[in-house]
């Protein structure tokens, strides 16, 4: 081919992730069966799958959910589903997912011009923009009015409740997956923009894609200062044994608010996202907003006991979507909340439940969901600041994740454990966004 003058592109990225060395993933011994299954159903093993394969039980559940959302029977036409995912991923400037789903969109017969921008799509799809925006950045603002506007504005642009829930689940799924993609520093696939080059390799200058996550290696600087694993474990044990001391309502609330409004610096300005992404975003300035410190105006808080996934969210999704989706989401939440290998860094046989719980509740706290039965003091004890920086960045501003942030936390932990943390963030975020929207829908149906 070279003789014929055809340039042969060369894959730029080495391995699926810019943060995790490829051999680390092989060392973890991915479950062959799951990968085979993934390959057979997708026709490729993409980087997401490869990284997730560190946690095979989660991966198979994730793939089934994604398959059900995008491929199986459902109220929305298949090109729409991909397009909605594209719209959602674009909110977080996740060019990886945008390109994955754009390809999927064209594959199932989508109109190519739609990818040129939101002005080319039907009104009905465009009307989803507000919800998409809120769902991505500030889901607590979603009210039944938003639902009402979509569900009954007469004529053809009307959404049915089933379609709407399908779209909401798709959007929330894509948003949280964007978090994962950024949080694991996934490299572009070889066929993505920035995933290949036509230049020959030169040994001195390692080719680096401008679109792969920034690769500043911050390890050396962080020789000290992280919380030692032993200390963390000790605290976990203490916290577990500690008899619940009687705290005043005030004190509990303060602890919750402190976590919620703690200022975590997340401002790393990145270069502008690629054009493919930018033209699909409306109002790109709208982002997650830190809750104001207590006092000024009480930010809305959702009580987990009043609207929970198990009691309420599931029933609604199950009622309006074809049988599997609710079931699969439920299963996925369960898998991720029970996922443990009873080890931490070099230690085996550890009950990591409190740590996982703290992580989960911290993310929900960032989204304004409060558990009456949880003492948010625990979050402060268990989550070191560098971890909070990572979690908050990933959950709220995923596009700002850098290698430095990734490497800074849990320095003695394995990569697979960091990916585990990523999974928890992703699912907690998904559930939080879903809860707010489903609550609004429930109120609308009332």
């Amino acid at each position: 081919m070279t003789e014929r003058g055809v340039e042969i592109p060369r894959a730029l990225a080495l391995g699926p992730s810019a943060f995790i060395p490829a051999k680390e993933m092989l060392k973890e011994g991915p479950d062959q069966d799951v990968l085979l299954e993934a390959f057979l159903s997708l026709g490729r093993v993409d980087h997401i799958t490869m990284v997730m394969a560190m946690h095979p039980s989660y991966l198979s559940c994730f793939l089934r959910t994604q398959h059900a959302l995008l491929e199986l029977d459902g109220p929305l036409p298949r090109p729409w589903r991909h397009y909605i995912a594209v719209m959602a991923a674009a909110r977080h400037q996740c060019s990886y997912l945008v390109q994955q789903h754009s390809a999927g969109f064209l594959e199932v017969g989508g109109e190519e011009s739609w990818l040129g921008g939101l002005e080319f799509v039907p009104t009905k799809l465009r009307s989803l923009q507000t919800l998409n925006k809120l769902l991505a950045h500030r889901p607590w603002l979603i009210t039944q009015q938003h639902i009402q506007e979509l569900v009954c504005p007469g004529a053809e642009s009307r959404w049915s409740l089933a379609e709407l829930i399908h779209a909401v689940v798709l959007m929330a799924h894509a948003h949280s997956l964007s978090s994962f993609v950024w949080g694991c520093g996934l490299n572009p696939e070889p066929d993505h923009i920035g995933g290949y080059t036509f230049y020959p390799p030169s040994p001195s200058n390692l080719p680096r894609s401008p679109h792969s996550p920034a690769h500043e290696d911050g390890r050396q600087e962080l020789a000290d200062g992280g919380m030692e694993v032993e200390v963390l474990m000790k605290r976990m044990v203490e916290l577990q044994q500690q008899q619940e001391e009687e705290c005043s309502q005030e004190e509990m609330l303060t602890r919750f608010e402190r976590e919620r409004s703690e200022s975590i610096p997340t401002a790393v300005v990145r270069g502008a996202p690629p054009d493919v992404v930018l033209r699909l975003v409306e109002d790109p300035e709208f982002i997650y907003e830190d809750f104001a410190p207590r006092g000024e105006q009480a930010p809305p808080t959702m009580r987990a006991q009043d609207y929970s996934w198990e009691d309420h969210g599931f029933s609604l999704v199950n009622r309006l979507l074809p049988d599997q989706v609710g079931q699969l989401l439920d299963e996925k939440f369960q898998v991720v909340s029970n996922l443990t290998y009873h080890r931490m860094a070099m230690h085996e046989g550890v009950d990591t439940h409190t740590l996982r719980k703290a992580l989960w509740n911290y993310i929900h706290c960032l989204y304004g969901i409060r558990y009456d039965d949880y003492d948010y003091g625990g979050v402060n004890v268990l989550l070191e600041r560098s971890l909070k920086v990572f979690v908050k960045t990933m959950a709220c501003h995923p596009e700002q994740t850098t290698a430095r942030i990734y490497h800074a936390f849990w320095r003695h932990f394995r990569h697979s454990e960091k990916v585990h943390a990523n999974l928890i963030v992703m699912e907690a975020r998904l559930q939080a966004a879903l809860l707010y929207t489903l609550r609004a829908i429930t109120h609308y149906m009332r």
Partner: protein, 789 residues
């Protein structure tokens, strides 16, 4: 108050009265409970904790237990229970994991008595022992149940469910030591309060969380459970294995279930999501609620029967911040609105009909059904209280036998097989179908086809064979048997016809009304065509032609009269008459455009058929000299509706397909779809798959054509591991073997695969054919004698 007096007797002296009433709470309720003497009710929620007294006409707030300027989370209640022995004792389960008891006898404003903070997560349920004063049980999200002795500061025993969150705990009403616990993972466990180390029994009751359970107040073995899977199940716990004896399917997840006092078979349920009503079910009739209370505007969170021996009062609290007392007599009875009659056809055309006995008993002509007594009561009640039973308890079932011969549907099958719906010119289709109908001895249908052909045929090829008659009736023309009077647009008509006509039509068959009719500019073409006799008459309104030509043709008619009697046969001589699909709209437009719309009747040239047609003729005055096909559309539409009404939907659909665009726009889409569906359904019942497919294919309704695109998937199992193959047809996910390998060439078969149903070996169609030509054994060597037919 006859009913009330009965209550009085049932309750002895402690009777009370009341009405359906409600009061507004300040905040949504999570749970309610009544005190033993049924005079007070406590309402608990995140932001409310109050006691109301139940008066005759209203609720009166008696006490607000939520005191303090900033009440602690201990007041945020998930559940509340009033002790059934001790009037001053209440217990609440707090969302922060605390179990709190309250003593109303305390003199201070704050009635809080004891506080147990042993649970780590939200406490979902508290339950007092029914007879033991100091025993309290709690179940929490953290998976533990704890038993408290209220005389001590901490729990006396902890029960670990070894599984997920506990959703409900209930002491057995009859067995002193037993309690049941339901779990989020779908399990129900039975515990002995003396043995905290291990449950006595565990079984899976539901898929998904079991939100609630309730012991039957009288029958010691019965436990009702309700789950997120929208089911209420009643379990018999007396046997070794818990046995499901009843199951009620509701429309939403079941949040609470409470047995109705004094009614063995009744229980009340409410839902956690979407559905705001409270239902009372008779578990023996699980398909329709016995009674419904529809007052709440948001989900009902707590239900409780006001008194443990009174089945007529139900209290409920809701997220809509109201507290209701429901009177049973005010409940709505869904069964009253249900369809009381049932109707069903048997395999051989027998008809079974079930209805209220009173409706049927007047009919004296019924003969007893040989199968036995048709009239049987569905069930009896001990007390025939009209408000306490389903509206009518017995139905009569009649079976009408069908005389098999009289109702044979042979004609239907034959007709369906023989009818031609497409593939030939319009007129031929009509003729063919008319012939089919005639041979099946259905003259009316046959005639209809003939008429249709006449009405809608392309005039270019029309000739009328009976000039003599025509002439003889010249004077009465406007009232004559004119089936299809077709106006032709002058230019367009002739040209298109020129192209189409095969030169068979005999000019001398054209009959013009002498004197005042003008034929359009198609004389030449008519001269060219010949042999298309038997066509209907037509007329041309066009003044451009000289009359002489027309007159000259007039009388040389050669056709034989005999042919007109069986015009269908005559048509067979003719071939290739082009089906001229002239949509009615098109024709109307033609008419509008035509310079001859002025249409003086004088210009009419009408060619009538012979008398043999007269029996089917539509004799009506000609209001317009030019009768386009659309003129007949209303008639045809009526005719189709008539056939459909008569049950001959076959005719309606066949005509619809054959006429195609000519009539389609006249009939609204829904009706068409309905006809299609009915016909397809009939065809499929008679297993006429080919015809049914043809009809689906030829239909123009999108709803019908898409029928062919559904269920096109073929599911297969792997030939190695016998598991279903999900992804690709040729490689199995589980055993990673190529499943469908050709037994002859040992390559993977992608495409047509044929296999023996005896030994399940197979391969490429071609290979198998060749192999079995030369050998009678299976190519796989399994020894099976395969056969290819």
């Amino acid at each position: 108050m006859e009913k009330m007096s009965r209550v009085t007797t049932a309750l002895g002296s402690s009777a009370f009265s009341g009405r359906t009433m409600f009061c507004h709470l300040d905040a949504p309720a999570n749970a309610i409970s009544v005190c033993r003497d049924a005079t007070q009710v406590v309402v608990a929620g995140r932001n409310i904790f109050k006691i109301y007294t139940l008066e005759e006409e209203q609720f009166v707030e008696k006490l607000n237990l939520r005191v303090g300027r900033k009440p602690s989370l201990n007041f945020s209640c998930a559940d509340v229970m009033w002790h059934q022995m001790e009037e001053n004792l209440l217990a609440t389960a707090a969302t922060n994991g605390a179990v709190v008891t309250w003593n109303l006898g305390k003199p201070s404003r704050n009635k809080q008595d004891q506080l147990f903070t042993e649970h780590k997560r939200t406490v979902n349920k508290v339950c007092f022992h029914p007879t033991e004063v100091y025993m309290l049980l709690s179940g929490s999200q953290d998976g533990f149940m704890k038993c408290f002795d209220l005389r001590k500061k901490e729990s006396v025993s902890t029960f670990s469910g070894q599984s997920e969150s506990v959703r409900d705990v209930q002491f057995s009403m009859k067995d002193y030591f037993t309690f049941a616990a339901s779990f989020e993972n779908g399990n129900v466990q039975l515990w002995d309060i003396r043995r905290p180390d291990r449950y006595e029994r565990m079984f899976t009751a539901h898929t998904g969380p079991v939100f609630c359970c309730d012991w039957h107040p009288d029958d010691r073995g019965w436990l009702a459970t309700g789950g997120r899977d929208k089911m209420v199940k009643v379990w018999d716990m007396t046997t070794n294995r818990a046995k499901e004896i009843h199951c009620v399917q509701t429309i939403a997840s079941v949040a609470r279930v409470k047995w109705r006092p004094e009614r063995k078979w009744h229980l009340a349920t409410c839902s956690m999501m979407v559905d705001h009503n409270i239902y009372v079910w008779d578990i023996r009739r699980p398909f329709i609620p016995f009674a419904t209370f529809e007052e709440h505007k948001d989900v009902t969170t707590g239900i409780v029967w006001r008194h443990q021996h009174d089945p007529y009062f139900l209290l409920s609290g809701s997220k809509d911040s109201t507290l209701y007392q429901h009177m049973f007599k005010d409940a709505s009875r869904p069964v009253d609105k249900a369809n009381p009659e049932g109707l069903c056809f048997g395999l051989f055309g027998d008809l079974a009909f079930a209805a209220k006995e009173s409706l049927i008993s007047s009919d004296a002509n019924r003969k007893p059904y040989p199968g036995g007594d048709r009239r049987y009561p569905i069930f009896f009640f001990k007390k025939p209280d009209p408000t306490e039973q389903f509206a009518h308890v017995s139905s009569a079932l009649s079976v009408f036998e069908t005389d098999l011969d009289s109702n044979r549907m042979d004609w239907f099958v034959k007709t369906a097989r023989l009818y031609l719906l497409s593939g030939k010119p319009f007129a031929e289709l009509c003729d063919h179908n008319a012939k089919v109908a005639r041979e099946l001895n259905r003259p009316q249908v046959s005639t209809t086809w003939t008429m249709l052909r006449i009405m809608f045929s392309d005039p270019a090829n029309l000739t009328t064979p009976g000039p003599n008659h025509n002439i003889s009736k010249l004077g009465t023309l406007p009232l004559m048997n004119s089936f299809s009077m077709k106006e032709m647009g002058s230019g367009m008509g002739s040209e298109s016809r020129l192209e189409r006509s095969k030169g068979e039509s005999r000019q001398d068959n054209i009959h013009l009304e002498p004197g005042n009719s003008h034929i359009s500019n198609n004389n030449d073409e008519n001269e060219e065509t010949e042999g298309s006799e038997g066509q209907a008459e037509y007329m041309f309104g066009d003044a451009e032609l000289d009359d002489d030509d027309l007159y000259s043709m007039e009388h040389d008619n050669q056709t034989e009269e005999q042919e007109y009697i069986l015009p269908q046969e005559a048509f067979q001589l003719r071939h290739e008459i082009m089906d001229n699909p002239s949509a009615p709209e098109h024709l109307q437009q033609d008419k509008a455009d035509s310079p001859h719309v002025s249409g003086n009747e004088a210009e009419v040239m009408c060619l009538t058929p012979i008398e043999s047609f007269s029996l089917i003729s539509i004799s009506q005055p000609l209001f317009s000299p030019h009768l386009p096909a659309s003129f007949f559309c209303p008639v045809v539409r009526e005719m189709l509706s008539y056939y459909a009404e008569q049950g001959d939907v076959q005719m309606a659909v066949s005509v619809l397909i054959v006429l195609g665009d000519r009539i389609r726009k006249e009939i609204d889409d829904l009706t068409q779809e309905h006809w299609y569906m009915s016909y397809i359904d009939l065809l499929q019942r008679f297993e006429l798959w080919n015809v049914s497919n043809e009809v689906i294919k030829l239909s123009t309704c999108s709803a019908i054509t898409c029928l062919n695109q559904a269920s096109t998937t073929l599911h297969i199992n792997c030939s190695n591991c016998k598991r279903p193959m999900s992804n690709k047809g040729w490689i199995c996910d589980r055993c990673h073997q190529c499943a469908s390998v050709c037994a002859v060439c040992h390559h993977v078969v992608k495409g047509l695969f044929v296999w023996c149903q005896g030994c399940s070996h197979g391969g490429h169609l071609e290979h198998m054919m060749n192999w079995l030509k030369s050998s009678s054994h299976c190519p796989a060597g399994c020894g099976h004698l395969c056969e290819y037919t």
